[in-house]
């Protein structure tokens, strides 16, 4: 699972959907790998608008990266030379950093979601589905 996806996935338990604690999930015991992906500045700039920056900073810190600025940067022109380094850094973090194994915990209900072989298991036991 790409680091990007940690900024979007939330607890699947129905009663958690309305809780502000169901997102972001808490990450622990994670094994990260870097996978090379083609750099697409337009897509990174597009996703930057969607990002919940506070959640990004929080999850990055849980995974050992405390280098993100506290405020979301703004990018008007994805092709401008002065934005290239920032977009490349975000590309490397969001798309190339992937979680091979780990545990995601809902801070509202405590449900554990396991990631194995890059695939998070979101199948819920019948009483939670």
């Amino acid at each position: 699972m790409k680091f990007l996806t940690t900024n979007f996935v939330q607890c699947a338990v129905q009663s958690c959907a309305r809780s502000s604690d169901a997102f972001p999930l808490k990450y622990s015991e994670c094994q990260l790998v870097q996978k090379e992906i083609d750099f697409d500045p337009e897509f990174i700039a597009h996703m930057l608008q969607k990002l919940d920056w506070d959640a990004l900073v929080e999850v990055a810190a849980e995974l050992g990266n405390s280098s993100l600025p506290p405020q979301k940067p703004t990018i008007e022109d994805a092709q401008a030379a002065e934005n290239e380094q920032l977009l490349r850094d975000l590309h490397s973090l969001l798309l190339e950093t992937q979680i091979e194994q780990g545990v995601m915990t809902c801070k509202n209900c405590g449900h554990l979601y396991h990631i194995k072989n890059f695939i998070p298991n979101f199948l819920l036991p019948p009483h939670l589905a």
């Binding site: 939330q10 129905q14 597009h46 979101f122």
Partner: protein, 207 residues
Amino acid sequence: MSRPEYTAPPEIFYNDDESTKYTQNTRVQQIQAAMTLRALELLNIPQGQHILDIGCGSGLSGEILTEEGHYWVGMDISASMLGNALDREVEGDLFLADMGAGVPFRAGTFDAAISISAIQWLGNADSSHSNPRHRLQRFFQTLYASLKRGGKAVCQFYPTGQKQLDMILEAAKVTGFGGGVVIDNADSKKNKKYYLVLAAGEGEEGL
């Protein structure tokens, strides 16, 4: 021939043997590719979008999304199908998840969604504790929320009959989706294809 969704739930029907057979079948690949391209045509979106693939299976549709310049997250209930996708090193993120239990992504995550030959499973030959109507509702509600305002979803599917078609359409509309069903090759019994084309709220362009 009996339809697979009458014989067993998808996570049981698509065991390792069946998913490998399915994925390696050239005819299946060609049909899947054609339907994915048609779904993209109906979506009519710019390049480089963030897309959800519901029932992504082994990533046959996902590979086309990648070729067309999109980024995707796929969900599927069959671990062996996802294992196949992993072996083929697809670019998208893969989630082992049951669409009938909802789409587990926060509001506005996706620019669009596609689904190829999957949603007819919502409501047939499933385990005894599941209620098709409830599962459909949960699916469409959470799909709606996960799309940006104006975001579209195109679901190609094989309705088991008029009753199921009506039930699916109604569940989508109750949730707030606009849209309807597009039928390709309506006169051909063999090649008739159903596409549910939905829009989540007001977009810049109508359907």
